[in-house]
Structure formats: C-alpha cells, structure tokens
Symmetry: C2
Subunit: 117 residues, 2 copies
DNA sequence: TCTATGTATTGACGAGCATCAGTTCAATTG
DNA sequence: CAATTGAACTGATGCTCGTCAATACATAGA
C-alpha cells in the first residue's frame, strides 16, 4: 500500500559537521506524555482492559467475586490488577460491608482518548 | 466526591452455596481486547508516546537521527522503541539511502481510540 | 575499493511485571 | 465470641522491559 508520504530529502553531512539538527518537536509535553503513558500502560494488559470495559458499563453492579470467574486468574491476581488500575487513576472502589464495588472514574480516560483521536 | 453509583445489594451466601455467579460479561471479545491491549502497551512508555506524537504530525519529515536528540536516550535505545512500535502495528518505515523515515500507519490507533470514547 | 555515516542488532544488567499459594484483614452471621 | 466469607496483602518465581556499550550492516562519497 502507498501513502501520501513526502520525504524531506536529507544529505550526508560534511565531515565534522553536527548530526542532523532536530527540526520538529513533540507537541505533547513531557509530563502530559507521562500521564497518558501511565494510563496506556495500565490498559496494556488484556485482562485489565476487559476489566475497564466491564466496569465502565456496569458500575456498581459487580463485586470483585463476580469478576473473578470472568477470567482465568486467581482472586489475588485480580485484586492485583484492580490495584494497578486504581494506581493509574482509572478506577476507584467503594466498600459495602464485605463487598467491594469498583467503578471507572469519570474523566479518567479523557486525556488519552482526546489525544488519540 | 460522590458518583451516581447504584450498588446492587449483595447478601452473604448460604454455607456451601456457590460464590456469586457472574452477572455481566465484557462486551469486548478476548482477541479484540488483546489487540487493543497490545497497542496500549506500546503507547505505555512516555518516549514511545511522544514518538507517535511527532511522527503523526511530521510524517516523512524526520529521519531517525533527528529524533535521537529529542530524547535523553541513545540511538540504539530509540531504534529499539521504534521496533516495538512497528511490532505493535502502529508505525512503519521507509528507507531512502542511509536514512529511515518512520510514519504512523493510518487506522493503527482507530480501534483503541473508538473503544476509549 | 576504502572510509565515513545512519540505522539496526546483540548481549548484558537491573528493574518491574503477572502470577500463584499462602496468609491476613475486616465484616457478617450465628 | 467464634466461624465464615469477600477482598487485600506477602513472598517467591519466571518472564519481560528499558537501557547502554559494543558491534554489525548498508549506503554514500571519494
């Protein structure tokens, strides 16, 4: 397949000359990139991504013990994944007695989503 | 802060009864989740995320040697990151003589972007 | 062909990750 | 209080990651 890719011609630099000077810079600042990368990293596991998918659509309806049988992992492992998602600021939880209800925080995915589109 | 979170009440199960049956399932299928997680994982590093940001906006304008000074990493490390992005199907490259031009593949981020929004 | 230069690969190292078995903690129920 | 149950924590293991120094490869220019 072919793309509309104009290649800027380069020429070999003269001996001793500095290597190509950067001509462009990222529009995304370092700390913004770090924030978005942190979210992306947390979503970079199939189980966590599906967890977010479930929690986004069924917030408040599922407790952890209902999530466990959806995946072929142990309960401590699931708990570990939920902890990672919470550390990335994607989900939060509310406890009611013995049960813990997780939900996706509003705005949590917004920055990354906006940048992606 | 408070959310509009309706909690489905749970009750302790009778002794010997099966633990909570799952009531919901992910809408995202396993292989779709794997594909998106792979893309998200590749974006889960600040340098790679900024690389994608630059390449998306300046495709064909930059060679690898111009990307190196943008980040505090060595040239082999940058090459390694570009390889990861290519393995995830996010970027591809074209070679012209000594220089390699990378670009973000169209549609590469679409699935994840759509799911996120 | 020989040298210089842009890019990719290799090998190695420390750090972090996903996972589980075992355990702990908290809260409900009898 | 004692037993039970949902959820989180601990420690350990094998794997992957990000990084660099060193090297290899490919091409341009003399």
């Amino acid at each position: 397949m072919s793309f509309d890719l104009e290649l800027a011609p380069k020429h070999k630099r003269a001996p001793g000359e500095r290597c190509c000077e950067p001509v462009v810079y990222p529009d995304v600042e370092r700390d913004q990139a770090s924030r978005m990368a942190e979210v992306a990293k947390a979503l970079g596991d199939p189980i966590r991504l599906q967890l977010v998918d479930v929690l986004r659509k069924h917030a408040g309806k599922v407790c952890v013990c209902e999530l466990v049988p959806l995946f072929d992992i142990s309960q401590p492992t699931l708990s570990h994944h939920l902890k990672k998602l919470r550390a990335a600021g994607i989900v939060d939880s509310e406890r009611r007695g013995l049960w813990a209800y997780y939900y996706v925080k509003p705005e949590a995915l917004k920055e990354l989503s906006t940048w992606l589109s």
